[in-house]
Symmetry: C2
Subunit: 382 residues, 2 copies
């Protein structure tokens, strides 16, 4: 149930002293092969951290043999010393593993504008190489920031495995990968296959998770393939396993979002296009008013429609259906069952919006807007 | 200092029993002429309330002689009886005033999906006509919902006046008018001039106020011109007075936003186009993370840059400047003065973002994200 669920991988998590309060803060995952195919998706934010710049270039040849992740500093907007530290980190890992730095992916997470200590980081990298083993637990713990629990998963195929770990508890807004995720597989797949399966999976999982509408500067979802199983699964089989681990990790991220008291599933059906469905789902997912209402257990479907109306999707404003937790509260744009029939006391809230304009659909996930969210995010850097 | 500051207008505010908790909830403003030029801007939300549908059609001929506003129900997504009530309300006012219903604008505010009581509404309309007088105070009070204070203003020109009142304390997101505003003038101006001046003024005032990113279904900004002063000011003079009252009311709305503890002014300069500047300002204004940080008095400029990076504006991500309350915290995308030098204890927060890509600029206003916002909006309809 971790990045080491797939054969050919070792992992480590060590405490390098980067994280205030202590605990493991440097994770390393190494692909011992025989193959080293890799693919990654990154944040589409134009303001990105140094590790994203480095990793985009390093993975562009479809090869990666290791990934090092640190908490305790995003290394974003840290000036020239920031890029130098990313580079030196990759070099240090590479030297100790006897590989090239260009085959080392680097991820960082923490406060923007804060450069973590260079000596501590490089010592941590060396310690992580020395600590490599079959257990992925410490690695999964070392990458967390405000997460309350570690996120790990694994899925099996016919003779091959896909494993994974993730961190992320805020800034979960999409436009590609929106958190740090390391996936591993022992399937025999080339980089192009990894890329295709990864993009297909992230598109309908991480990319549709929109916790707070904010896009991070540091996100990376990386898939490493060792080929150690000797099994070359059909594409659909492989892609299904990659989708399974992505979906599972995305749901774990949703469940652990900062301060959240509800997980909200927004299903938009009857759309003319899938793009319309996603646009409507995202608009509702970003309505602070609706999300605050859910926190208050108030089935305020008017705030759903007010968000739907901000989109360019095809629909007739006078013929929309909305249901909340299975209760039709608005039918043909007219009030239906009374809000007193809707029970929002549980953690799960299902919103279904029928645009009655076609046969396409999409699901977007979000959380409620709570006092806990405001509290956690009003006291982060200080 | 109200809608009756301009000659030729009478106003009233009465308690019709629509508002839970009592108090005035129906406002009426009547233009006694001699002229009846009018212009209005409406929410660009596609899901709109019945009064918006009615008023858009009614004002399309550039004539309006009265506007009736009710709190206690938005009359949005209330089915056919909702439109019938809007129509009947206009008819009732028109009958009692001896004018045509098509010259009566209607505005409603309150909960979506809730239809206020028909008999109470129509009785309130009649009572409002009977109560018409020179004092605009009661009208300004009757239109409030979660507002804590009434918003009124007036500006003078050479022999003419512009007055106004507004309501709005949430859902202040733009794409045109974003609240209920009634403006009056005794200048001799035709409907086309009213329209031109009103659109120019709202574009840089109400349209750049983005309290919580949520767009209302009911917004209307209406300008009524009586010509009672007998003065025909030059366009620039008239437009300047309209801009002054719009800016003043917008700032009053900003200061009274639900739960807000800070007013945040986001000035984007060095932009290639004004559109770029607005896009960047709006992106920052909608960052829950940045707004929560301001609530916590945390000068977290990384969250500013993370929002800037989500836009398509022209800029070099490695050459951005940010200052907070006059302190340069990021220069050329590199940390500058320490955050400990930034004092966010006051209500006013000034963010300046220099894109270094041109000579255009724009200012967007927003509020912080607070426990008060979550509290007010999690317990509204129930």
């Amino acid at each position: 149930m971790s990045v080491t669920a797939a054969a050919g991988f070792r992992a480590a998590g060590v405490a390098a002293g980067l994280r205030s309060g202590g605990g493991p803060d440097v994770a390393l995952v190494v692909n011992d092969g025989p193959q080293a195919a890799a693919a990654a998706v990154f944040t589409t934010n134009r303001c990105v951290a140094h590790p994203v710049r480095w990793s985009k270039a390093a993975v562009s040849d479809g090869v990666a043999r290791a990934v090092i992740v640190n908490a305790g500093g995003a290394n974003c907007y840290t000036g020239a010393p920031g890029f130098q530290l990313t580079h030196a980190t990759a070099e240090t890992v590479a030297d100790d593993l006897g590989i090239g730095a260009i085959d080392v992916q680097v991820c960082s997470t923490g406060l923007i504008g804060h450069l973590h200590d260079r000596n501590a980081m490089l010592a941590g990298a060396r310690a992580a190489v020395a600590a490599l083993g079959a257990d992925g637990e410490q690695a999964a713990k070392a990458i967390l920031t405000t997460d309350s629990v570690s996120k790990q998963t694994a899925a099996g195929g016919d003779g091959f495995a896909v494993g994974g770990m993730a961190k992320g508890a805020g800034m979960l807004a999409p436009a590609l990968a929106t958190m740090l995720v390391v996936l591993t597989t022992d399937a025999e797949v080339d980089a192009a296959t990894c890329d295709r399966a990864l993009r297909a999976a992230t598109r309908s999982t991480f990319d549709r998770l929109d916790s707070d509408g904010c896009m991070s500067t540091n996100d990376q979802v990386l898939l490493l393939a060792s080929g150690a199983s000797g099994v070359s699964p059909p594409y659909e089989t492989f892609a299904a396993a990659v989708h399974t681990v992505c979906h599972d990790l995305a749901q774990q991220l949703l469940a652990d979002a900062e301060g959240a008291e509800h997980e909200i599933t927004i299903e938009v059906c009857g759309a003319a296009t899938e793009g319309d469905a996603v646009e409507v789902g995202r608009a509702v997912a970003r309505s602070n008013l609706f999300k605050a209402a859910v926190f208050g257990r108030d089935p305020n479907w008017g705030r759903v429609l007010a968000s739907v109306g901000t989109t360019a999707a095809a629909f007739d404003p006078l013929n929309l259906d909305v249901s909340l937790n299975g209760v039709p509260v608005c039918v043909a744009s007219t009030p239906a069952a009374g809000p007193d029939r809707v029970d929002l006391t549980g953690r799960r809230v299902d919103v279904v919006i029928d645009l009655k304009a076609g046969a396409e659909s999409a699901t977007v996930w979000t959380n409620d807007l709570t006092h806990g969210y405001v509290h956690e995010n009003s006291a982060y850097s200080t």
